[in-house]
């Protein structure tokens, strides 16, 4: 009997949901007190809805089975009853109040950003995250680490390339945070709207350009937590993961020291680089690898761009004829377009290498080797 099949199917669906453990078919319980409360809230409403569903559909299918013409049912005449109408207006209303109370409590707590221990400024841009350790004075970019061969199979050549365990959910430098501290996030964006989301923390906050939104978390357990950008932000919206590495407070302190050391080291490197002379060969190798990771998303590996969206660099008059403008646009970007300033993102040496690469790849062969000082003159460090 079809009807029975349907009933069984529906009950099956419901019970599969109800019995769902935090696995890959249900919301994660996460690792913060808030995320636990959100999870509980989610399960509570889900179960209430399922129960209402069972009652309503149960009544309906009972009628469908019993009150069918083929069973000789004769239609009753009633078509009104103020009493039941009031009942089924009031009862759902009360149920809703029952849901609203815990929801309100949780929400008010989630929005209480005061008394934080650590502040991190999170900035989204096409298509990477920038983390600034607000009170420590350093920061870094965090980019997708999955190599293009693993996902780009448009020409059918990469069918056999195995995908890594954390395919699309891995970055070059994760955000490192201590457990047990109240961490406040200042979320914003440089270009379009992104959304910073870590399911395990139950934190999802839109990154609106020109505004700062706040969110916070206290992580209970060390671990690596993965999320993704959750607001359509253009072509590579799907390739903008968030990875957070939660460590103990001691480990965090060690890590902070290392970072500060490397900031000092980087300054030294930059000074040295300024004094050194880059060779064509060195620049081309470095430039190519950087171009592929940082520029090819828009301008494509072969420099052809995407006509109408991202300009081709191959045979670009600017590159061929105007060296200064070429350096300038890479260093400072072009306001009001997707071409962002790379001066904070890459070192002067790296920019020099990329520009050299662009000036000599794809048959350009200008023979120019850009030096760090050329780039430094435009404002890059």
């Amino acid at each position: 009997m079809r009807i029975k099949i349907i009933i069984i199917a529906v009950l099956g669906m419901i019970s599969s949901v109800l019995s769902a453990t935090p696995s890959n078919i249900n919301m994660t319980r996460g690792v913060t007190d808030i995320s636990h409360r959100v999870y509980d809230l989610h399960m509570t409403i889900l179960i209430i809805c399922c129960l209402i569903g069972v009652v309503v559909f149960g009544a309906m299918f009972y009628a469908i089975v019993k009150h069918r013409k083929s069973q000789g049912a004769v239609a009753a005449q009633f078509h009104e009853s103020t009493k039941v109408e009031i009942i089924w207006t009031v009862i759902p209303f009360l149920i809703l109040i029952g849901m609203a109370v815990p929801a309100t409590k949780t929400l008010i707590e989630m929005e209480d950003n005061s008394k934080s221990d650590i502040t991190i400024k999170v900035t989204g841009s096409q298509w990477k995250w920038h983390y600034e350790y607000f009170d420590q004075g350093f920061g870094f970019y965090s980019l997708l680490a999955t190599p293009a061969e693993q996902f780009d199979n448009l020409d059918g050549k990469n069918t056999d390339v195995a995908k890594g365990e954390h395919y699309l959910l891995e970055v070059d430098k994760p955000l490192v945070l201590p457990i047990g501290k109240k961490i406040r996030f200042l979320v914003t964006a440089d270009d379009v709207i992104h959304s910073w989301w870590v399911p395990a923390f139950a934190v999802k906050q839109d990154a609106n350009p020109g505004f700062i939104n706040e969110a916070w978390t206290i992580i209970n357990e060390p671990g690596i937590y993965r999320g993704q950008c959750a607001e359509l932000c253009g072509k590579d919206h799907g390739y903008m993961p968030v990875v957070v590495k939660a460590v103990t407070q001691d480990e965090y302190a060690v890590w902070l020291d290392e970072q500060k050391q490397s900031v000092i080291q980087a300054k030294k490197d930059a000074e040295q680089a300024l004094a050194s002379t880059l060779t064509m060969e060195e620049s081309m190798t470095l430039g190519e690898s950087l171009y592929i990771t940082r520029c090819a998303a828009c301008h494509q590996p072969n420099g052809a761009g995407i006509p109408g969206v991202f300009p081709a660099l191959k045979n670009s008059p600017m590159i061929l004829n105007d060296r200064a403008a070429h350096i300038d646009i890479v260093v400072n970007g072009k306001a009001g377009t997707a071409m962002q300033a790379f001066k904070g993102q890459l070192t002067a040496k790296e920019i020099a290498a990329i520009v050299t690469y662009e000036r000599n790849a794809w048959g350009h062969d200008t023979g120019d080797v850009i030096q760090v000082s050329d780039v430094d003159a435009k404002g890059a460090k």
């Binding site: 929005e111 950003n113 400024k121 200042l186 914003t188 020109g210 505004f211 700062i212 706040e214």
Partner: protein, 291 residues
């Protein structure tokens, strides 16, 4: 609510709708291409746009002509008249909502966006970190990015224009009274005055725009103050232009002897439209200029 349905006139066929649809096609493509071509030399877009507008004007002329003929032939019942009137009222309601959206944008930037940029509400860090030098005031004469402009006062031209529009609503009312009482002279005279007032309004507004652009640095792109100012007054001005044209057509028809005290839907509709445009201006004057 009994309706008498006998003899509701259903026109058999008409080619005006398809003409109108093609006209809109041209306008949409033409307008789209025109803005795309603003930075280039190409003019194909504006040609298409012009063709589209011409087609639409042709359609309106022909369509209304048919309606007038049908009406003169006595095909329309009182019920048909009600359909027209209700249709027009709902159309004006849709226009109200169009302006409401822009007013909503204005209120939002004034009461929410700009204070937030200055650090109000839950945006303390927005002000401190991103726009430390920004001062949240209205009119927004200095944008967060630092561009400056000047605010348009309400004295002078805007005030004159308010008075002009208010008077024009009154004169139009007298014209209508004249029509209803079959005093054709009063009708013609007051309608003429209304048209003239409409034209004067537009002239003064053009004057104001020139002044804003030339002397005040207040342009369409001068931050949200300029944006809301020009979009609201601009769309209003567009409506005044259309309204004036409609009034002008009514004037010609009046001179030709159209309309009777009982049957003058087109006149009625135009006058509703004009009063609506007037009310919008009052809102504008108050929210855009005065406070």
């Amino acid at each position: 609510m009994e309706q008498q349905t006998t003899n509701y006139y259903v026109p058999a066929q008409s080619h005006w709708p398809i003409v109108g649809a093609v006209g809109l096609l041209f306008i949409a493509i033409g307008a789209g291409m025109t803005v795309q071509q603003m930075t280039s030399e190409a003019t194909s877009g504006s040609w298409l746009l012009t063709i589209g507008i011409v087609i639409i004007l042709y359609m309106m002329f022909g369509w209304f002509n048919d309606v007038i003929k049908e009406s003169d032939a006595g095909l329309y019942s009182a019920q048909m008249d009600r359909s027209f009137r209700q249709g027009m009222s709902w159309f004006i309601f849709s226009e109200v909502m169009f302006f409401a959206a822009f007013f909503g944008a204005l209120f939002y930037v004034r009461m929410i966006a700009i204070p937030w940029l200055g650090g109000a509400s839950n945006n303390e860090m927005t002000g401190q970190v991103l726009w430390p030098n920004f001062e949240a005031i209205w009119p927004l004469v200095t944008t967060p990015a630092g561009d400056t402009t000047q605010a348009m006062g309400w004295q002078g031209l805007p005030l004159y224009n308010t008075v002009i529009l208010l008077i024009s609503s009154i004169t139009l009312h007298f014209a209508h009274v004249g029509l209803e009482q079959n005093k054709r002279k009063q009708l013609t005279a007051f309608l003429t005055i209304t048209v003239v007032l409409g034209v004067v309004f537009l002239f003064l507004q053009a004057e104001e725009y020139v002044h804003a652009y030339r002397e005040m640095g207040l342009t369409l792109s001068a931050g949200v103050y300029g944006n809301t100012f020009f979009l609201l007054t601009g769309f209003h001005g567009l409506h005044v232009t259309i309204g004036t044209l409609m009034l002008f057509v009514m004037l010609i028809r009046v001179i030709k002897g159209h309309f009777s005290p009982e049957r003058h839907f087109a006149f009625q509709a135009t006058s509703w439209y004009w009063h609506f445009v007037d009310v919008v201006w009052l809102g504008l004057f108050f929210f855009v200029y005065v406070i």
